[in-house]
């Protein structure tokens, strides 16, 4: 037994000395990290799922990828389309041919030249069914691709598609040499043309990229190395910005913003987002079939109070079917909070004493808070709402599996949406066309208006931006008046950065852009 007590003693001593030595070792740097001045750490809330640029669907993977890759066109700070690997493009009058003039003198990170053959190699990879890549959906309207010259390519469409140019922005170009190596290679060894090139990715831990010296656009950044680090816990991300372990933090939790008000070290940036928050109302069911009921529900909810209570004051009243940063957005006259008028409308619809209702949503604390807010607001006009919050996978099953509208049990769904490439089609077709009822799409309001469904088709068939704009104007006006949703708010993106760092921003689609990062 003496041995045992000696062991205890040694272990105790070891623990003590560990605790003490840690004190000495790190008293030198507050953040507990060693890094050069030109190295930055970007802290985000989720893991990257994949680095295959043709197979990424989630926002986090997309910005990891866009730090190293570029497409023929790209997105600007406000989601407008800008030239990238293509110097310019032309769309034929019938909207069926897209001709790109490619930039000359561009090299991939592995030294391969970028040219028409490289575009072709990427196109072939995506369109090959055996590869089963999600990017194929971006190009589903494309019929064929032709090489016109070394630096000129043309895509032929099966039918006109208004958002096609945005979709080209969703297709990054991979080095043809990497494509030859196959998908496993591409996943582990990203080779693009971006301002940063790949260093290392540890699944579930960090992604490191470093400056690409031969970038075609010249010297865009003075940052040598960028490390993306996923930290899911809100409080920990905030702490990392305070300790200096993080140079850029996104998303910044709303409730922590005021802690940085007087900070000398860090600044919080608020930028617009394309995410819209709403309650989709099942217009196929009684009593929601009645337009007056849906309008009354919209009038009964105080959106400004919603933003204060649920979103901590961060957001804008949703005054259309899409957020202001979305293509062809048109502001509508929003439903002003008016309980008296709402009651009158309900009375006209024959529900003077209100009715019982149910709202569904996921289990996140913000969703629960949002649903409680809706319940409390609708109670003002006699609608008695039961809240049912469900785990995400179960909820998705309940919403998307009913084969026919009459089988759907959902009455109201508290949810959000953002179009993946900031285009009006992505913010409209899947949500409001009667061809996209579940399980075929996300029209969970079962909104059925022939006029709108036809307009959506017409907008796609038109190649004229002026005409498209007019059609989307009509669509937004009509849908907003028909109120298949309770229109709540559009989000803002909140990000925090150390005051030494400039040029990193969050675009409206939630994608972090680091291509012009500058350290002071």
């Amino acid at each position: 037994m003496r041995k045992f007590s000696v062991l205890v003693l040694i272990l105790t001593l070891a623990l003590f000395s560990a605790a003490c030595s840690s004190n000495n070792a790190s008293s030198t740097d507050k953040s507990g990290k060693t890094k050069s001045d030109k190295e930055i750490t970007i802290v985000i809330d989720q893991n990257f799922i994949t680095l295959d640029p043709h197979n990424a669907g989630d926002t986090v993977s997309i910005y990891g990828i866009r730090s190293m890759y570029e497409g023929l066109v790209g997105f600007d700070k406000d989601m407008s389309i800008v030239p990238a690997l293509a110097e310019s493009y032309e769309i034929s009058k019938d909207g069926l041919t897209y001709t790109f003039k490619l930039r000359e003198g561009v090299t991939f990170h592995d030294g391969e030249p970028f040219n028409a053959d490289a575009v072709k190699a990427n196109y072939d990879r995506i369109m090959d069914d055996a590869n089963n890549l999600s990017a194929k959906r971006s190009l589903k309207f494309v019929d064929s691709m032709d090489i016109i010259g070394d630096y000129e390519v043309a895509f032929k469409l099966k039918e006109p598609f208004s958002a096609m140019i945005n979709k080209f922005g969703m297709v990054p170009m991979i080095s043809p040499k990497a494509i030859e190596e196959g998908t496993k290679y591409i996943e582990a060894n990203p080779v693009g043309t971006g301002t940063f090139k790949f260093v290392e990715w540890k699944q579930g831990k960090t992604l490191e990229v470093e400056k690409y010296a031969d970038y075609w656009g010249g010297d865009q950044t003075n940052v040598e190395k960028v490390k993306f680090s996923p930290v899911p816990e809100n409080g920990s991300r905030v702490a990392m910005l305070k300790t200096g372990e993080a140079d850029f933090v996104y998303p910044m939790p709303q409730q922590n913003v005021k802690e940085f008000k007087n900070s000398k070290d860090a600044t919080i940036e608020e930028t617009p987002s394309t995410i819209v928050r709403y309650v989709s109302i099942n217009t196929f069911k009684d009593p929601y079939k009645d337009l007056k009921v849906r309008q009354a529900m919209n009038l009964a909810v105080d959106k400004k109070a919603y933003i204060q209570v649920v979103k901590n004051g961060f957001g804008h009243v949703l005054d259309s079917t899409m957020a202001p940063e979305t293509q062809y957005y048109a502001k509508q006259k929003s439903y002003e909070f008016n309980v008296k008028k709402a009651k009158e409308l309900l009375k006209e619809a024959g529900f003077e004493n209100g009715f019982e209702s149910e709202i569904w949503g996921n289990t996140s604390s913000e969703s629960v808070k949002g649903m409680e807010f809706i319940k409390q607001q609708l109670a003002q006009i006699g609608i008695d709402v039961t809240i049912k919050s469900m785990e995400e996978g179960t909820l998705s099953d309940e919403i998307y599996t009913p084969e026919k509208p009459e089988d759907a049990k959902v009455q109201m769904w508290y949810v959000s949406w953002s179009p993946s490439s900031g285009d009006a089609d992505g913010a409209t077709r899947g949500l409001f066309s009667s061809e996209y009822f579940p399980p075929n799409g996300a029209n969970t309001a079962y909104y059925d208006n022939d006029k709108v469904s036809n307009w959506i088709k017409e907008a796609n068939a038109s190649a004229d931006p002026k005409e498209q704009e007019k059609i989307y104007n009509d669509i937004q006006r009509t849908v907003y008046q028909d109120a298949p949703w309770i229109f709540l708010a559009s989000d803002v993106n909140l990000a925090g950065h150390s005051n030494n760092l400039e040029g990193v921003y969050v675009a409206p689609d939630g994608v972090i852009n680091i291509s012009k990062a500058q350290m002071k």
Partner: protein
């Protein structure tokens, strides 16, 4: 003894088969559809079906189970639905940090817990006992995520001694292992105390005193050893739990362990990852239990296994 161990290991096989069957059925029967989650929110029915076929989920359930069983037996755990990465790689990346964290937590919890327990028992109803039990009660009642956040605020934000999270270098293990071990330490302290108090009333202790043994020898040589059986049981079970990874502490310290991987996988209905992880936990738990049983026979020679 060796015979016993071999027998126990052989009995693992049917147990793991049953576990694999139950896990497989449960995860496939609960609502949620990886094909839809993979295809994305704006996918059409056709695209969802394509995703389902590519995952092999369109086949009958029993067929899927046999494919899974065959692959598992040949050491192929499959690929993650969500990321396409090999499941063996995903788990391999995270098992070492989790093991490290588990060992650190258990070791400090055992050392400090037994120490407090012994002190409390020896100075029963004195202020040292009250202090010890106060620490123990605090350890049990303070939620570990809260302890974690307080540690971050204090040692990372204010003092800058430890990094806020991650698993790079030994420094990043200190705070999470403290937060994880606090509750276990407290439990061990309580068990040690009550068990030792009980032992000290036994005849052989009185005998020892009559023989003129020093009190240190009596406590550590006779009393403590005989009091350790409940302590080993508690520590062993907690050890088994910790091997599964702690979701809460891993999240607070953004620690890349098995717990968060499991939660992520369940949310995404990432069937291959969930199945592999649960099978691994079951295996670990059974092995830990076996080690506890063997430890009993060392602590109390009356317990013998054939």
């Amino acid at each position: 003894m060796w015979q016993y161990i071999v027998k126990r290991l052989v009995s693992l096989i049917p147990l793991l088969l049953v576990v694999s069957f139950i896990v497989f059925m449960f995860i496939h029967i609960i609502p949620g559809d990886p094909a839809r989650l993979l295809a994305g929110k704006d996918a059409t029915a056709e695209e969802v079906e394509m995703a389902r076929a590519s995952l092999g989920l369109d086949k009958p359930l029993y067929e899927q189970y046999f494919v899974y069983l065959k692959d598992t037996l040949t050491g192929d755990m499959g690929y993650s639905v969500k990321s396409g990465a090999a499941v063996s790689e995903l788990i391999g990346d995270r098992i070492l940090p989790t093991l490290g964290l588990t060992f650190l937590s258990i070791i400090w919890a055992l050392v400090v817990g037994i120490l407090i327990g012994v002190i409390s028992a020896v100075f029963r109803n004195k202020w040292l006992d009250h202090l010890g039990m106060f620490i123990a009660v605090s350890g049990i009642s303070l939620p570990n995520f809260w302890v974690g956040l307080v540690l971050i605020q204090l040692f990372s934000v204010q003092l800058g001694i430890f990094p806020t999270g991650g698993a790079e270098g030994w420094k990043s293990y200190i705070m999470p292992s403290f937060a994880l071990g606090a509750g276990i330490m407290a439990m061990i302290a309580r068990f040690t105390r009550s068990s030792l108090v009980e032992s000290m009333k036994q005849d052989y202790i009185r005998m020892g005193r009559a023989k003129g043994l020093g009190s240190r020898q009596i406590i550590f040589g006779h009393g403590l050893k005989n009091s350790l059986i409940p302590v080993v049981t508690v520590a062993g079970l907690q050890f088994g739990f910790l091997l599964g990874g702690s979701v809460v502490v891993e999240t607070v310290f953004s620690f890349p362990g098995l717990g968060t991987l499991l939660i992520d996988s369940i949310q995404f209905r990432d069937y291959p990852v969930v199945q592999a992880e649960i099978l691994l936990f079951a295996f670990q738990f059974i092995v830990v239990n076996m080690i506890i049983d063997i430890a009993y026979s060392y602590l109390n020679p009356k317990i013998r296994y054939e």
